[in-house]
Symmetry: C2
Subunit: 376 residues, 2 copies
């Protein structure tokens, strides 16, 4: 999808009837998948019987013509790099696999084996807490895009194709290692404990207002930290604690080490004020903060409703809603979001445009069950 | 870092003395930052006094010479797009900001306002549960890389530069919307509840063995689901429940709706078996699964220790350990990981190579406090 948002023509090829995600929850009232609509914006859709030799040949021809394949189905000879690069040597072929050893894995199983679920959540909690955001799927998709762009640049320059293999598990492992979670085990023999909502190595904590709202507050720099103490009227108490504990709170590591006593000093100020009062005070300070919001609140927040990142999309069978483009603007412009196709919507157009097939030829392919067309 | 891993020369310019992350936890015994080492692999480091006009002019000259700037410090006129593009019209200028409106934000505050923390963790839990993985920082970094690669391709083709603005908050909002979390609010007026470790819209759940190990198990397809029932000896019971509830478990949405009764059927099999027995049985099935591991277990897992993604890096002052390259292999090859520089390690080399400065000229800049050199 990201490649389509960058301006590429992206043709998603599915089996006739659709893959599992074509009916994936959440669904709109009439049964159409909001999930599919969200993740296929701006793509074209073609449906083909990829178990038949005719279907396989047709899709092969499409890949060879396009010059780039991204697939998460590994181990099929007919769309392997060997088979396809024989027909197009400068092919860019990217295979997303579960694990480096070729075994299967999805975000939620891969995540279990990263270490993160055992340190997520309240310090007293036993057992794993999974993330809700499929962070590895998201990162893997972005790595796939940047791998394709890098390979394209290489092909532009040298004429060479690329065979790229991207294991979802390796995305997770590389990230955990880059961020130090695995390295501290290797170097120091220690691993991070469960910290609740505190941030490791810095001062950051959530607080609750008198009317029950939650706030995340982060003091990344000395200025933030001084302002937080000032704001909560605890500057003198913080200084006294620093002296009593022989601590230097200008060091972010020491702010982290003494986080519980600091939180104990700051919390009463939050507990005795309403969300509105807290918001006004934090907004007037340098402190980094935000109020915890529900998805319903986010969806109606001006950050969504008055943000050029979001444009109204008319999604057939689902309706009009605000959908995002790419998160970055280029030269001040966000390309507007586009609707997702229904399954097979572009089958006929792709066959006509790419291979110059006549309506009769396409009808014959539909008749033989080799392809299926949609409603567009 | 990802750009350096792709083969680019990446020069990180820091204030003399280093930015906050130069001493960020985790630290090795001698006080060097494992965090810095992990996130600056393969970069070059230059230190300059960017509050002085001389330092600003020097860094400007470096940016104009390089042709690409990535910065997360917004609002400084001297390295603004206007100022720099006047000197180099085809400049690629990427600014990471907290929020689209220009206000500040870091991963942990942005995350509070996405909706995710209020649906993470056990259904009965009150209050937010933050992620431990800074997923928005990770995604934002990857978006930055692909934005740069796309802009480079555009410059190669058209000669045009790009002014790119990437708000961390917009990365989070776009992702939440792409995945349907915000869209279901807009379309259906509903939002997702807290589900514990269950996966929304599919059957996935964690189970505990007789010896206390946790497993994440996912049945994404009908085959997975049949195998899970078979494996746990519950095929007949599952069929009986389907009939009694008038449910069709070949539909992933219905498997999700009835997840609690299904989990109730499967759990006794796990509870009465050791982790070893469960591992053997799951490994012999099609079911998607993994055992929850701690960071210490992951760091010593063959997925890390016997994976070409990881190579041994000799990191000055920290020691030798296994560090990852990019998660994708290209033509079967992972580029080996490289050590991170110490602050200012490359100041002298960059000034000599880029501007042909003599040792004397560089010494004068060091003497005036305009730049600082490291130990390399």
């Amino acid at each position: 999808m990201t490649l389509a948002q960058l301006g590429a023509e992206v043709i998603r090829v599915d089996p006739i009837g659709g893959a599992a995600d074509y009916q994936r929850w959440p669904l709109a009232d009439a049964g159409d998948s909001i999930y599919w609509a969200g993740l296929n914006k701006g793509k074209r859709s073609m449906a083909a019987d990829m178990r038949s030799p005719e279907g396989q040949r047709l899709v092969q021809r499409l890949i060879v013509d396009s010059g780039i394949l991204i697939t998460n189905v590994a181990g099929r000879h007919w769309h392997s790099y060997e088979e396809l690069s024989a027909q197009r040597p400068d092919l860019i072929h990217l295979e997303v696999v579960g694990r480096a050893d070729g075994s299967t894995g999805v975000d939620y199983t891969v995540n279990a084996a990263t270490g993160f679920p055992l340190v997520t959540g309240p310090p007293g909690h036993r057992g794993p807490i999974n993330h809700v955001l499929p962070a590895w799927d998201v990162s893997c998709g972005l790595y796939a895009v940047l791998a394709i762009l890098a390979a394209l640049r290489r092909r532009d320059t040298t004429g060479q194709g690329s065979r790229i293999r991207l294991p979802l598990d390796d995305v997770a492992l590389a990230t955990a290692a880059n961020l130090g979670f695995l390295t501290e085990v290797m170097v120091n023999g220690t691993q991070r404990p469960r910290l609740g909502n505190a941030i490791y190595g810095q001062y950051g904590q959530n607080f609750t207002s008198s009317d029950g709202a939650s706030f995340m507050v982060v003091a990344l720099t000395n200025r933030h930290f001084r302002d937080l103490a000032e704001l909560t009227g605890t500057a003198k108490a913080v200084a006294a604690v620093a002296e009593a504990l022989d601590a230097d709170f200008s060091d972010e590591g020491q702010r982290y080490e003494h986080r519980d006593v600091l939180t104990g000093l700051f919390a009463p100020w939050f507990r005795s004020r309403t969300a509105e009062e807290i918001t006004a005070a934090l907004a007037a300070s340098s402190v980094l903060w935000d109020r915890y919001l529900s998805f319903a609140e986010v969806a109606h927040d001006p950050r969504v409703t008055a943000n050029p990142l979001f444009t109204s999309v008319e999604q057939p069978r689902i309706g009009a809603y605000l959908a995002p483009g790419l998160p970055m603007s280029v030269d001040g412009v966000h390309a507007p979001a586009q609707a997702a196709p229904a399954l097979g919507d572009d089958t006929a157009a792709v066959l006509a445009e790419r291979f110059g097939m006549s309506a009769q030829e396409i009808a014959a392919l539909v008749g033989s069950g080799t392809v299926a067309t949609g409603q567009r």
